[in-house]
């Protein structure tokens, strides 16, 4: 068990390290650097040389990678391309806002998704299932910006119930985003419920068809006791991993939704940085998002191992 944990942890560290190499190498290979961005693209000669010298861009790539990675490991990503703003303070604000949005979406979405998934799974191929599953396919396929536009059109413009965009500045305290962040939460909940619900549904169907549920039925165990005591604890385990993917997706900046509702989170910061070609900020954000993804998945894997002794021993036998 300890070995397995350590192995999983080491894999996570390796992945994060590889991501840092990919990001750094990618930014090296792509044409342009921080200086050509600040000094406009046609800057040449001495001005460009001096700028590179000031920012240390004339040092060999390996040296720059090491100093960047060392800073990143301590949470210090240096200054943005204009040389004015400290990236870590700026990012911290956005992270707070993204966490707020994610927390809002998760607290509504996860219980709703599990409820709908269980209902659909138990009522397989009957009316509730067909209704919920069809709605899920629609929610998964309709682009987020289309759903958001419909929402704004109906509830903000025609009915006037909800605010259409967020006007609160990025550094405002969390409470001030209420009620402005509700439309964004609704769109996110729609998408995540569809994904988690489908997973829960197929997992419930599988467990209800299993031999031990059949056995319990034959022994005369009441239906609802089978569902809650025997089926659900096993059926909900696989949901942990989908929920983890959802958490990573939410924390990783939901670019489209943040842009549509003008929400000042990680997603909009990234797209602004890309438009401004602010390479240091892009590097920092991509690194942060990738590390979050790895961490969340790691936690989910560990959690499912803890909760499922069978999985634990099975993995040990196979490895």
């Amino acid at each position: 068990m300890i070995n397995l944990l350590l192995r999983r942890l080491a894999l996570g560290v390796v992945t994060v390290w590889l991501v840092s190499v990919i990001i750094f190498a990618g930014m090296e290979v792509l044409p342009g650097d921080a200086c050509t961005v600040v000094l406009e693209r046609d800057a040449q000669g001495e001005v460009l040389e001096n700028c590179r010298k000031n920012l240390g861009l004339d040092r060999p790539p390996l040296e720059r990678y090491l100093s960047w990675a060392a800073g990143a490991a301590r949470g210090d990503f240096g200054l943005s391309a204009d040389g004015q703003t400290k990236i870590s303070t700026e990012v911290a604000l956005r992270v707070k806002n993204s966490i707020l949005l994610a927390a809002g979406a998760l607290s509504v979405g996860v219980p709703l998704a599990i409820l709908l998934g269980v209902i659909a799974g138990l009522a397989r191929d009957r009316f509730p299932d067909i209704f919920v599953s069809t709605a899920a396919i629609l929610a998964m396929t309709i682009p987020e910006f289309v759903a958001a536009t419909i929402l704004v059109l109906v509830f903000s413009i025609w009915l006037g119930w909800l605010p259409a965009v967020v006007l609160t500045p990025a550094d405002a305290p969390a409470l001030e985003f209420w009620p402005e962040f509700i439309p964004a939460v609704i769109v996110l909940v729609m998408v995540m419920v569809a994904h988690i619900m489908r997973m829960v549904r197929s997992s419930v169907i599988e467990v209800m068809a299993s031999e031990y549920v059949q056995m319990a039925t034959l022994k005369g165990v009441p239906y609802w006791r089978i569902v809650f005591r025997h089926a659900l604890p096993n059926a909900l385990l696989p949901a942990i991993n989908v929920v983890a993917l959802t958490v990573a997706w939410l924390l990783g900046g939901v670019v489209v939704v943040e842009v549509v509702f003008n929400y000042p989170g990680i997603g909009r910061m990234t797209i602004d940085a890309i438009s401004d070609r602010d390479l240091p900020i892009i590097q920092a954000l991509v690194m942060l998002i990738a590390a979050t993804y790895v961490l969340v998945n790691l936690v989910a894997d560990l959690a499912s191992m803890m909760l499922n002794p069978r999985l634990r021993t099975m993995k040990m036998r196979s490895k």
Binding site: V146, V255, V286
Partner: protein, 299 residues
């Protein structure tokens, strides 16, 4: 199995084309497949013939009729530059379909070949490659695409290769998994025992037997790619104006939504029906071929 049975199975063995025709027939017998294939067909036909049937020039602006409501002359009204919305809706799917229909085969070929090779090869090459795949998968979805578009411009070639590259990475995993499912079967062992090379085993045993999984995967990824393409376009990283594209039209028309809601409705319905059509087709294809996509491996 008796000799007679083997023989009849051999003579009844359908050709590859015949088998896929049968799959298509089974597919459209399912309600979801029928609706999906219908929607996709309509969209493809419209994309092909739209340059000849549109009522107006998609570039021609008329300052006299800015944001006009639908009339007999302009069935879907006009946009903020006085351009005919119907014309632009009819033309607005061409870029998306063109780019994604070219990028998906590329995606599946490179991801599929890499995955099948790694699944067969195993060992340290597989281990290293899979760590790289993990690293790429942890990169946030649409962002690398935007970086590429900003650096290399939003030309169709850039979009095709960028989309094919990033969409191919998760395909490696799927193809590798599918290979692991068949690589221990008797016919692969037999081919190995006969001393076939890796290339020959891949070509003759593995690729044909992972084809079903890859077809379903490709259809599913096509719908995600269309979604990604339109999101890029919506965010301003896709098609260059004035070429019409639904994502971009929605983003432009959103600004005037309270004055002219018809500007967003046309492209929204067109885009949604296309993606839903592809998705329903993929779903029905998965059921027809008996492949369950929702049940992913735990851990």
């Amino acid at each position: 199995m008796t000799d007679a049975a083997t023989e009849s199975a051999d003579t009844a063995r359908p050709t590859a084309l015949g088998r896929w025709m049968q799959v298509l027939r089974d597919l459209v017998r399912r309600p979801s497949g029928a609706i999906g294939v219908f929607l996709v067909t309509i969209h493809v036909i419209v994309a092909f013939i739209s340059p000849w049937i549109v009522p107006y020039d998609f570039k021609s602006m008329d300052s006299g009729i800015i944001l006009a409501a639908p009339t007999a002359e302009h069935w879907l009204g006009t946009d903020a530059l006085g351009r005919d919305v119907l014309t632009r809706v009819l033309l607005g799917g061409r870029e998306a379909l063109w780019v994604c229909f070219l990028a998906i085969p590329l995606t599946m070929i490179w991801g599929g070949l890499a995955g099948v090779y790694l699944g067969l090869r195993g060992g340290w090459v597989d281990e290293v490659a899979m760590r790289l795949v993990d690293a790429f998968l942890s990169l946030p979805g649409i962002l690398p695409l935007m970086v590429f578009v900003v650096v290399f411009g939003a030309g169709n070639e850039v979009l095709i290769f960028t989309l094919a590259f990033f969409f191919g990475i998760p395909v490696i995993r799927v193809a590798r998994g599918a290979t692991h499912d068949v690589v221990a079967r008797d016919y692969v062992l037999a081919a190995r025992a006969r001393g076939h090379s890796r290339g020959s085993i891949m070509r003759r045993e593995l690729l044909p037997n992972t084809l079903d999984v890859m077809m379903v995967e490709g259809a599913m990824r096509l719908s995600w790619m269309l979604l990604t393409f339109s999101s890029l376009s919506f965010l301003g990283f896709g098609v260059t104006p004035p070429t019409p594209d639904w994502g971009q039209m929605i983003s432009e028309a959103r600004v005037y939504m309270s004055l002219a809601p018809w500007g967003v409705l046309g492209p929204m319905i067109a885009l949604s029906t296309l993606i839903i059509g592809v998705n329903l087709t993929a779903d029905a294809l998965a059921k027809t071929l008996g492949i369950d996509r929702t049940r992913k491996a735990v851990v």
